[in-house]
């Protein structure tokens, strides 16, 4: 919200110096980590590696390990990207962070759990009828997530339109809390397991060294993204959404029903989250009421990394975040001598958010926001 004009060189405060220091420090650590990693791959017993590993020889990653990490990162990232689309669209149109969007995703995953278990009881899931079963499940997840998002907008956000920006954000924290605990109370607190996937989904493709299901997730995310792109860029409703994102009042003057367009935005974002939810279920085969929290925050991170309001950016940001999360612990932190790097995956995601906001607050691909939201 600061509109201050800063003239280069003038008015540099201690804060600015501190921020510059932090930027340099973070980027420096990143660079040192990467260089150390490369050195370690070429010569595992170089002096720096011995220093950071207490004299032991550093481990070397093999090609299949890289491949596995990258594919894991991509499939996770595709999911983050799908969730991020909802954040990005809502932020573009209404200018607030829908904190509860992660719960929409969780509701999708939960619907998937219920449907898949019912199909499993009927003997469809693992047998030859998997394809129709999964299609029906995906449709159900999409619809339920969509409905959750629409009800959320109607009950909690519509009455707050026009209030100060932080008010809907705080409300959405309440919504998130409420949905999470409502799910715990309605369905019980434990982790819910999906039935085992059909054998062909778990098979590893030799050429890529990755399970079919991960590939499926990536393909599915790509299809959904393409569909969304067509919807936003080529249809009339999509055009209305873009117009409302640009300027609500003028859009209303042009005869666009702003309320309905906002509902559509929530619905489309919810649908994407629902698809991400069922994909999560197939990938990890387990869902719990708090499943939505971390992926939700990370998806928001992805949206910021790609540039809020920018749909392609959200997807790219998701992939970038997923890969960073999979690779950075081993490629940056481990060479620096940090122990137990896999525990720090979540911290990596948040650090990436801070890094991007410090260095390029508008995201890698630029924000697309209306003038008032940019202020």
């Amino acid at each position: 919200m600061t509109v201050a004009v800063r003239i280069r060189g003038a008015g540099r405060t201690n804060i600015d110096r501190f921020l510059t220091l932090m930027r340099v420090l973070l980027l420096g650590l990143l660079a040192i980590g990467l260089v150390a990693f490369i050195a370690q791959q070429l010569a595992p017993d170089n002096p720096f590696a011995q220093l950071t590993h207490d004299g032991e020889t550093a481990q070397r990653l093999s090609w299949p390990q890289y491949r596995g990490l990258i594919m894991t990162g991509l499939s996770q990232g595709a999911m983050y990207g799908l969730i991020a689309l909802g954040y990005s669209m809502v932020y573009g149109v209404l200018g607030f962070i829908n904190f509860a969007h992660g719960e929409v995703f969780m509701v999708g995953a939960f619907t998937g759990f219920i449907m898949s278990n019912k199909f499993d009881e009927a003997g469809w899931w693992e047998a030859g009828l998997f394809i129709p079963a999964i299609i029906i499940t995906i449709i159900a997840c999409t619809l339920v997530s969509m409905a959750t998002a629409i009800i959320m907008e109607r009950v909690a956000y519509r009455p707050l339109r026009g209030s100060p920006r932080l008010i809907p954000l705080i409300t959405s924290i309440g919504v998130s809390f409420f949905i999470q605990n409502a799910v715990i109370l309605l369905f019980g607190p434990g982790a819910k397991g999906y039935p085992p996937n059909p054998e062909w989904l778990e098979r590893v493709i030799p050429a890529l060294g990755v399970e079919v299901k991960k590939l499926l997730v990536i393909v599915f995310a790509a299809i959904s993204m393409a569909g969304l792109w067509y919807f936003v860029e080529r249809t009339k409703t999509g055009k209305a959404m873009r117009a409302v994102a640009e300027d609500k009042e003028i859009a209303a003057l042009m005869g666009i029903n702003v309320d309905r367009t906002i509902v559509t935005t929530f619905a489309v974002g919810g649908a994407m989250a629902g698809i991400a939810g069922i994909l999560w279920g197939i990938l990890f085969r387990s869902v719990i009421a708090t499943t939505g929290f971390l992926p939700g925050i990370k998806a928001f991170t992805a949206a910021v990394v790609g540039g809020v309001g920018n749909l392609g950016g959200a997807m790219a940001g998701g992939v970038a975040l997923g890969s960073a999360e999979a690779l950075a612990p081993l490629m940056v932190l481990e060479p620096l001598g940090v122990d137990g790097v896999s525990q720090l995956r979540d911290a990596v995601a948040f650090l990436l958010l801070i890094l991007v906001l410090l260095i390029k607050p508008t995201g890698l691909f630029g924000e697309r926001l209306s003038a008032e939201d940019r202020a």
Partner: protein, 621 residues
Amino acid sequence: MSNVIDDVSSGELPASVDEVERGPFDLEWREVTGKGGLVALAQVFIALAGMPVGLNSRMLIDPILSLGYLSLLWPTFILGWLVGKEAVLEGVAATKKGMRDVVAGAVVGAIGGFGLSLLILGIDAFNIRDPLVNWSPQTLELLTFNRGNGFGFVAWIVIGAAIGGLGGSLHVLPGRMPRALVTAIITVLSVAIFESFLVDVLDPLEFLYAPTGGLTVVWAAILAVISFAAVMLGAGDRIGAARSAYRDQTGPARARTTAVLIGLTALALVIIPIFTGKITQELLANIGIFLLLALGLNVVVGLAGILDLGYVAFFAVGGYTTAVLTSANRGDAWPSWVPTLSGPGGWLIALGVTILMAALTGLFIGAPVIRMRGDYLAIVTLGFGEIIRILFLSDWLNGYFNGAQGITNIPPADFGVTEVKGTDPRSVFYLVMVFAIISIYTSWRLERSRLGRAWMAIREDESVAEAMGINTVNIKLMAFVVGAVLASFAGAIFSAKVGSIFPTSFLILVSIIILVIVIVGGMGNIVGVIVGSVVLVGVLGGPKQPGLLQEFSQYKLLIYGALLIWMMLQRPEGLVPNVRRSRELHLEEFLQDAWLRDQVDADEEGRAAEAGAVAPAGGGA
């Protein structure tokens, strides 16, 4: 201008003169069915969330009403009342209150009851217990009063109609009756709910309650009659008069009254724990710790308007610093120059270091986020909160913080003359009180200082504040630091109280609960924050600490969430609002009301236009 603001806060306009009379069955059917459907949905949700079954063992009025049934009945009463409530606009004819409102309430209640009736049939006919854990015979048994489905089916419709009608009748009853009725209901329910507390403070009160818990019917009736009669005889008016007399006082007289009131409260707080049992003392100590945290967050969110979702980080830093400095069981990687403080005053020295560490953390977290947009700042602080917890948990720093095992064997805070330890919650409470007084005094003085005014200016409009020559960056950083220091008090006391700390004590959940306390109480108002922490932590309980309603532990997070939504929608300024803040939030209504009453003179119009122009740009108007 001041009377205008008073009207806005009470939400009332003078009743209009014209009233239209309508027949008892001439209802707004759309609204009535809508509200009825809402009641039905709420009741079915509550039933399926398991509240009636889970809370049924707690009797309120033995043997008529349990907390479980109360959880099903309150929506009926409230919406039965709400449906007859009508916004009276100046210049628009209002409907005359009459039987129509009672009928509307009854219909709403009946529709709501019908929802439960359908649920009875549903549970009887289908078995979907697989995903829905409370689609169970126990729920059915409770809903049918154990007397067969047909009885239950009819009973809920009748009960719903009766209670909804009672709610609607509040509009019709003459004079002081509605207020007396509500007072009687609230008195009976709160005496029943606070049973354990009241008996703990004053043993002889046990005669009120049945041996299985809950008021006896006779005493419930007597209490209801007494409170009803008291209000009818004008007790409410007298309290109101006393309050407005206090408000009308000015200068030294008012200061004297305030001092006397504060003194009495403090005296009560010193005396009460002497007579109570351990459970109540523990409860008071927990309230105190959350009060300390809420006071700190109030500076950040309420005064400076910075939404810090990672506030728990400062609590964690405070707790861990004290633990590391006093416990013998800390990680073994610490260099020898980091002492293990023990003996008299050791805790106080540790506290000094803790404050310093918290302030540094505040600076470190605050500096990178201070220039960000308000909502980005919220998410990034949340990220920092998680990062700090992950670091305490990680193998990487295992040598320092023992990872998931946490730091144990933290000695009690030793002051030479006395020791403050977890097994003696009274001492913890007194220690917390001392710090609460320090925090309250600090934030009270800060609010009236140059710094506090700068914070409020930034909260209301950052660009304007900057244009007025306020160094927004430094001022906002100060808010972070002050908030962090206040939270570190709580952390230091917490670790001495519990004796061992783990990363799981510092989940993001804690941040959110503190935020709810501040918002429900009233952002930016110290009294509000005190009320918020007493009501929420005292009754519902903290994230892990039980409150008075121990049976609620499963449901309290759901209630926290619902409360947060409801407060933001209905009363964003909180229970005890800060005058400035509520004016900010209701600017539009305030102007509209003034305009309707034709009270906007030229001068005010100018001021209003100005205020409108600088109002924070949210979405479209």
